[in-house]
Structures are given as C-alpha cells and as structure tokens.
Symmetry: C2
Subunit: 244 residues, 2 copies
Amino acid sequence: MNEKGHIVKSFDTDLTEISNLVMRMGGLAEAQLAMAIDSLVKRDSELAQQTVQGDGKVDELEREIDNMAVRMLALRQPMAADLRVVIAALKISTMLERIADYAANVAKRVIAINKLPPIRPSHAVPRMAQQVQAMIKDVLDAYQNNDSDLAMQVWRRDAEVDESYNSLFRELLTYMMEDPRNIGGCAHLLFMAKNIERVGDLTTNVAEIIHYQVHGHEPEKARPKGDETSFATVTIDDKAEGSE
Amino acid sequence: MNEKGHIVKSFDTDLTEISNLVMRMGGLAEAQLAMAIDSLVKRDSELAQQTVQGDGKVDELEREIDNMAVRMLALRQPMAADLRVVIAALKISTMLERIADYAANVAKRVIAINKLPPIRPSHAVPRMAQQVQAMIKDVLDAYQNNDSDLAMQVWRRDAEVDESYNSLFRELLTYMMEDPRNIGGCAHLLFMAKNIERVGDLTTNVAEIIHYQVHGHEPEKARPKGDETSFATVTIDDKAEGSE
C-alpha cells in the first residue's frame, strides 16, 4: 500500500496486514447486509437468525484491527502516509462495525415481520438496499486500490439513496394510513429503510476516509444531502386531513 | 490527567488540551440535546432551528480534536497511558459527534411535527430523554475525573432507557392504530425515541472508552441490552387483529 521502503522490513508487513484485516471486515459487513436483505426477500427467519448471530464475527474483527492499530502506533510510531493508513484502518473499522450492526437490526426486524402477514412495501426495501450494496462494493474496491476517484464517485451516489428513502418513507406512511393493520409491519419496514439509508451515509464516510488516506485531508465540499424526511409533513398532512 | 512527569514539558499541556477539547465538545453535545428536547416540550420551532444550526460547531470541534490527536501521534509518539488518552479522545469525539447528530435530527423532527396538531405521546419522549441526559452528564463527569467506577455505573443504567423505549414504542404504535391522523406525527416521535435510545447506547460506548483509558482494556462483560423492539410484534399483532 505504501511506496517508500522501510528500514524495518516487517512494518510494511504490518501495514499490509492491517489493510487486509479491513478488507476482510468489509467483505464480512457486505455479506451480512446481503444476508439480511435476502432473508427479507425470502421471508426466511432462519437466515435472518444466522445474520443476527454473524454480527459477533464483525465485532471481533473490529477489536482485532483496533488492537493492531494501537500496537502499531505504540511500537512503530508511524509518520505521514503510514500514520494515515493506521488512522484510516481505525476509523473505517468503526464504520464497518456500524454497517454490520444495521444489517443485524434489519435481520431482527425480518424475524418480527415474518410473524405478520406479508405486506406490499417490503419489496421496495430491497430495491433501495441494492443501491447501497453497490456503493459498499465500490467503496471496498476503492479502499483496496487506494483509489480516491472511485471513492468520491461513491460519495456522490448517496444522494440517490436518500431520494429512494424519501419516496419509500412516504409510501410506507400512506400504506399505514390505508389500513391500521399494516402499522406494525410498516413500522419495522420504516426502521429497516432508515437503517439502510444510514448504511449509505456510513459508506460515504468510508469514502471520505479513503480520500484522507490518499490526500492527507478529507474532501472539502459538503456531501449532497437528499434525505429530507426529518422535515417531511406535507404528504402525511394531506393524507391525514383527507381521511377525516 | 497523567501522573508521571514528561521530559518535554509541553506534552502534558497537549494532553490536558486535548482532554479539555473533549470536555468542551461533550458540553456542547449535551447542550444540543437539551435544546432539542426543550424545543419539543415548548413546540418552539425557532429553538429547534437554532439546534439544527448549532450542530456545525460540534463537527468543527471533532475535526479539531482529530487533527490534534493525529498531530500528537505523529510528533509525540506517545506510549502506554498517554497513548490511551489520545486514542480515547479520538474515539470519544466520534461518539459525541453522533450524539449531537441525533440531537439535530430530533430538532428537525420538532420543526416537522410543529406543523401538525399536538399529539399526546410527545410528552413521553422528554421523559425518556431525561434519563439519557442524566447519563451524559455523569459520563462527562467520569471522563473529567478519570473515574472508571462512575463510567461503569452509567453503563449499567442504559438498560432502563431501553425499557422506557420499549414501552414508548408500543404506546406510539397503539396511538397510530387508534387514529390514522396520528400516523404522521407518531412516525416522527418514533424516530425521535429511537434517536434518544441510540444516544443512550453511545453514552455507554463513551463509558467503555473511559474504562479503556483508565485500565487499558474495555469492560469484559457484555452490556445488558434491553431494547427488544426490533423483535416486537405481539402487542402490535393483537391490536391489529382487534381492529378487524
């Protein structure tokens, strides 16, 4: 990952090793999200249960990366670009751990909604998840190849995820209003959608850290934010008044 | 914060300074949450707007701490307890930034629900927030005094927050089912409650890092988890069937 040679040969080995650990953790987080979404599509509670259990492995890898980073900082006292690799590993692992956490939460909610009759908008959640899953794949490629351009491309794509979330949020609320029997299931789908939207945010954070690792500073422009649902009332309002 | 003397006098100054920055950031995050909750109680959209804007200052402090930590790691190459102070500052600042983020999100949702007629369960959210605000206050005291016992006491209190969240979650869903006109407002309250529950989780994470700073490792026992709403269907189910 680093071009310049080191006097102590095994420091390069350490750098490669910590990067590999981050890649492995990224692959695991990616797989956890894929399993969670798959369990939603297939209404497969057993697969969802496996996903919940799988989260422990991700946490373990985070601790491993953490310990290795602190050890490298303490014993190797890296400078400049090398220091950035260690700091980046420390930060990215925190983000990956949270991505996997959100995946496990989606899986928990799958188990819950599988006890209820199927509801229509559950198909919209996997559609939105696809966008986010593609972002994760690309951001991990960007990390592996130290490719800051690809990272920034991923970063910009988050606005589309936010748009999908906005429309899904409205769809779910409408669906709740149509029939109160949908409320329980839709509340879970609402949180699932929010979880996936947050995974998109975290993926852009990973992209920012890759930019930092390559250039020594995070990207300057504020990320385009498309999630406006915190402010949303119009549609809801109209609907609510319409049903009076 | 550190007992042993340093050859380079100003390194102690650096350690004190970074801890002070974390304290300042903690105080700011605490104030942001208090303002958000206050704006909810008073239905004060202007105060909520101020809270949303205030989040920028928290982000700025995080960057400042980040830069200072990286500078200290690069130039000072601290070891053992000193290294832990720097690592702890780096990690706690990330958590405080997220706490302030959640506060800003609560404030955004206050602006949204203020456009709707008042709904009853909005009083239950501040009650739950009080527990979390007390936890934040104590965890900052624990940080300031390097008091790992107090940190662990805070850590254990999160189970009560989770219980409050569980009952609030059910209350909100019931309220949605009673009258579809409540759905829009309740969806926002649902997310507010979840945000505050997450702030509680983050506060326990801060407590864990204080334990690490003092003892060199995080607490061993897994934190008692009380939030079971991801799995919740029973009440919802019953209600839904009852309204058929």
